[in-house]
């Protein structure tokens, strides 16, 4: 049960991700002409997305309600994750490919950097990867992604969402050249955050509808990850 409560707390973080974000650092490409090769640190991203119900009746009943909600969410997460696995869909690989494509579209070469990375935060230090030949490191933590419904009624269907932090660090001196937060389909209008409205074609009235239309469900999730990756590229143009 305690694990469920932790997961519920983690999901709540998604919704308030941007509220606690630090001020953005815009990239100045014309002042950093030497940045041509970017070392893409293996993004921090959980292999299984989350299926989040942002508001429901359980939230009205304190800890017991939260535990029940967390249990129900774990059930949804598990079913959706199993569906992805059976379809051989790997969201981390999809996101990494989209990210490298978005950097290539902006004229950057990329180098993969494999390093242990959690999804909840960016790396504290880049000293361990200092030997990788690149002009800058791109560090991304996909704090959460999957599907989200604002409420329980038919008027608030499940739609894909992501929330991620990103940072570009100059290799030579560790200076932060860009830092931002990107949210696809956030709750509200968070400040200091690039917000991307959801594609209206990926709408599922409830969890059963989401599971029943596997192809479109996967496409919607991948679209959210791809659009978020494209936003990273735009921040580096």
């Amino acid at each position: 049960m305690f694990k469920f409560a932790i997961r519920a707390f983690a999901c709540a973080i998604v919704v308030v991700l941007a509220a606690c974000s630090t001020p953005e650092v815009p990239f100045d490409r014309s002042a950093n002409r030497g940045i041509k090769t970017i070392g893409v640190i293996q993004p921090g991203i959980e292999p299984t997305p989350r299926i989040v119900l942002a508001s429901d009746i359980g939230q009205s009943f304190g800890l017991i309600g939260a535990l029940v909600d967390a249990s129900m969410q774990a059930n949804r997460d598990g079913k959706f994750g199993a569906m992805l696995q059976s379809a051989h869909v790997e969201p981390p690989a999809e996101f990494l490919a989209a990210l490298k494509a978005s950097l290539a579209a902006q004229g950057y070469q990329t180098v993969d950097i494999a390093v242990a990375h959690g999804s909840s935060s960016l790396l504290k230090s880049y000293a361990a990867i200092a030997t990788v030949p690149s002009d800058a490191y791109l560090d991304i933590a996909v704090v959460n992604y999957g599907y989200l419904a604002a409420g329980i009624g038919d008027s608030t269907p499940y739609r894909p969402f992501t929330g991620m932090r990103c940072r570009l660090v100059r290799s030579s001196d560790g200076k932060v050249l860009m830092e931002d937060v990107i949210a696809y389909n956030p709750i509200g209008t968070p400040a200091n955050t690039v917000t991307i409205a959801p594609d209206p074609q990926y709408t599922f009235v409830d969890f059963d509808a989401l599971m029943a239309d596997r192809g479109r469900a996967v496409d919607g999730m991948n679209k959210a990850l791809t659009d978020s990756a494209a936003a990273v590229g735009r921040l580096l143009q």
Binding site: D28, L148, A149, G151, T156, G188, N192, L235
Partner: protein, 204 residues
């Protein structure tokens, strides 16, 4: 403060959040006589303080610029001395109208130094915003309508959650609900522009 009163206060404060007025989109300005380069007179001064943003309402009577992309309405901002610093320039959606922005940096004589690349404006919160580093010598910024976008529709879906308090049988409950809202508007020549400058923190 009792919890129900606190919740009621929170809802009251949220309900008081200023909502931008609705503007009829201006999409046709072919009949306007225009400047061939931005007029430096009457530029809106921007203070080097992020808490004191400069505002400009671009309406049908705003100055017009005739460039390679066609006729555009624009507002001119005078940037503070002392670059580099960070500039935030935002187009605030105004009901049916969303100003389609592009930003051009000028020197002290009004000569174009650079234009922010296409795609620099991204939605941040509710506003369409570009963040960039101003360079030494960039003293003015013309924010002009993007003629390639004007007239096209824009639709954005927004998810929200609400909490309200209720009491029954001596117990207090918080009721959590969700909602969606779709904002439909038109990219236009008119709207509100907000510019803020954040100076670099001095290193100690």
């Amino acid at each position: 403060m009792k919890a129900p009163a606190f919740v009621a206060l929170a809802l009251f404060v949220a309900g008081c959040a200023a909502k931008p007025p609705d503007l009829e989109p201006v999409t046709m300005i072919a009949a306007r006589s225009c400047d061939t380069r931005p007029a430096l007179a009457n530029a809106v001064a921007v203070a080097p303080d992020p808490d004191k943003p400069a505002n400009a309402l671009i309406d049908a009577q705003a100055r017009c610029l005739d460039g390679a992309g066609g006729k555009a309405l624009y507002a001119l901002f005078a940037l503070p001395d002392g670059a580099p610093y960070t500039v935030s320039v935002s187009s605030v959606p105004m009901g049916r109208s969303t100003f389609a922005p592009r930003a051009i940096l000028l020197d002290s004589a009004g000569n174009v130094m650079r234009e922010l690349p296409d795609g620099s404006f991204l939605f941040r919160g509710a506003n369409l915003t570009a963040l960039f580093r101003a360079h030494p010598g960039e003293r003015y910024m013309a924010v002009a309508s993007d003629t390639h976008l004007v007239g096209r529709p824009i639709s954005r879906l927004q998810e929200n959650t609400q909490v309200r308090g209720a009491a029954a049988g001596g117990f207090y409950f918080e009721i959590h609900t969700g909602s969606e809202q779709t904002h439909d508007s038109t990219w236009s020549h008119n709207g509100q522009i907000v510019v803020a400058v954040t100076p670099d923190k001095k290193e100690r």
